[in-house]
């Protein structure tokens, strides 16, 4: 059995999102090979299946295609999310395009304190706190449940994704680029001190 088929069976059995690392561990395969197999699987499903691969961050999940929603709804219990309030929608949108982000970062964009709205969205399972921290603050991101509700394969399929993700991505990149630079300088400094 090919690696992409093995991964398909694994995701089917798990019935929840899994990290690429976990998949590599289970399949006893190299990360690079898993990455390629996941891409192959996504393509095969796109072409002829009623299922598709959803991805966010470094996780993937096997789900039904949105075109089948009408019939699938009749056999599963709906999660009854109901409508979103303006504030929820606003916070979710910002997190979808710019997340994962810290609470102060979200508040900077919304211009208003957002701890209660974040809590509400987490209780509804539309937002989750991630393991990673930034500047000592926890980061928040949208969940697979949110993606599923929109029937999207990835946040990159959101309208105008590149434009709205925009400069934060670049800023992040610059920060990452700057960090080793800073360390180098620090090293140099200590050299001089010796």
């Amino acid at each position: 059995m090919n690696l992409d088929q093995l991964i398909e069976a694994t995701l089917f059995a798990a019935a929840r999102p899994m990290t690429l690392r976990k998949l590599a561990e289970l399949a006893k395969a190299e990360a690079e090979d898993v990455k390629k197999a996941v891409a192959d699987l996504a393509e095969r499903l796109d072409e002829g299946s009623g299922l598709m691969l959803q991805n966010y961050g470094n996780e993937v999940e096997l789900v039904t295609k949105p075109e089948a929603a009408e019939i699938v709804k009749t056999v599963v219990k709906d999660d009854e999310q109901g409508e979103l309030t303006r504030a929820s929608l606003e916070a979710l949108t910002i997190l979808a395009y710019r997340g994962p982000m810290t609470r102060p970062e979200l508040e900077q964009v919304r211009g208003v304190q957002s701890s209660l709205i974040l809590r509400n969205l987490m209780i509804r399972g539309l937002v989750e706190q991630k393991e990673d921290e930034r500047l000592g603050q926890p980061t928040y991101a949208i969940t697979f449940d949110f993606l599923k509700h929109l029937g999207l394969k990835s946040v990159t399929d959101l309208p105008d994704y590149q434009a709205l993700r925009g400069h934060t991505a670049i800023v992040d990149m610059l920060n990452q680029l700057n960090e080793p630079e800073k360390e180098k300088q620090e090293d140099n400094k200590s050299d001089l001190n010796v």
């Binding site: 929603a69 979103l84 303006r86 606003e90 209660l116 929109l150 105008d160």
Partner: protein
């Protein structure tokens, strides 16, 4: 100035500001922001602003008042107000997200969802086999419970703490007007001497501006950094400033 179009609902200061700018069909610019400053303050006072959000509204209000002051007094500049995020850029960015949110709302409502493999059924098929975790001990559990309580305590207390922030413009106007009636003249420093928080100082200053605008009081400042002296206007109208201001 007529306020014919009513804004029924807003989610935060940027939402209110954006609605005001769009209502007047203005481009987002410093000039248009200055032009809606008064409406912003009026709306902020006339609708219910959550106490915990008051500070956020005041930050925006003070920026708007600052833009307006700059417009009226060419050459006027305050270093502290110039620093920090640029409200114009912030509002532009916010507008992009509001537009995107409307599109996401459409997708959300379309009902074209994806579904996972049903969890409840997966559970029913599997047999329950007792498999105790190795990392759950009494010590760990009571430790976790204490941590949970510590985490939720501030959330439960939040509404009570936030109320402090909400010294409203109403109260400050009433207070200032009352004191001027009593003493004829007071200084701005005396007026704000009990204020401990920056946002309250902003409210007090806004209250003063409102009374000046309506000619209830006069202000005099000998030079730029001196205290401001506040006195009743000789032709002050015989009505309650609150009625006129924020009816």
């Amino acid at each position: 100035m007529g306020y014919t179009v009513n804004i029924e609902h807003f989610e935060g200061p940027l939402d209110l500001l954006l609605q005001l700018v769009e209502k007047d069909e203005l481009e987002i610019s410093k000039l248009s922001l200055a032009s809606v400053a008064e409406q912003f303050i009026k709306y902020m006072q006339s609708k219910t602003v959550l106490p915990e959000e008051m500070a956020d509204f005041l930050v925006v209000a003070s920026k708007l008042v600052y833009y307006k002051s700059k417009l009226l007094l060419p050459g006027f500049s305050d270093q502290e107000m110039e620093e920090g995020p640029d409200l114009e850029a912030q509002l532009r960015q916010y507008q992009m997200f509001v537009t995107a949110a409307k599109e996401i709302d459409q997708i959300w409502k379309s009902g074209n969802q994806s579904f996972s493999r049903s969890q409840t059924v997966v559970r029913r098929i599997r047999e329950v086999k007792f498999s105790p975790p190795e990392n759950a001990s009494l010590d760990i559990m009571s430790e976790i419970m204490k941590r949970i309580i510590a985490r939720i305590e501030p959330i439960v207390r939040l509404p009570k703490v936030a109320i402090r922030k909400a010294i409203s413009l109403h109260e400050r106007i009433k207070d200032l007007f009352g004191r001027i009636h009593e003493h004829a003249t007071i200084s701005f420093k005396t007026y704000i001497k009990d204020i401990k928080h920056r946002e309250d100082a902003i409210v007090s200053f806004l209250a003063l501006l409102e009374l000046v605008k309506q000619r209830f009081v006069m202000v005099e400042q000998i030079d730029l950094f001196n205290d401001i002296s506040i006195s009743a206007h000789p032709e002050a109208p015989e009505r309650d400033p609150l009625v006129e201001s924020f009816a």
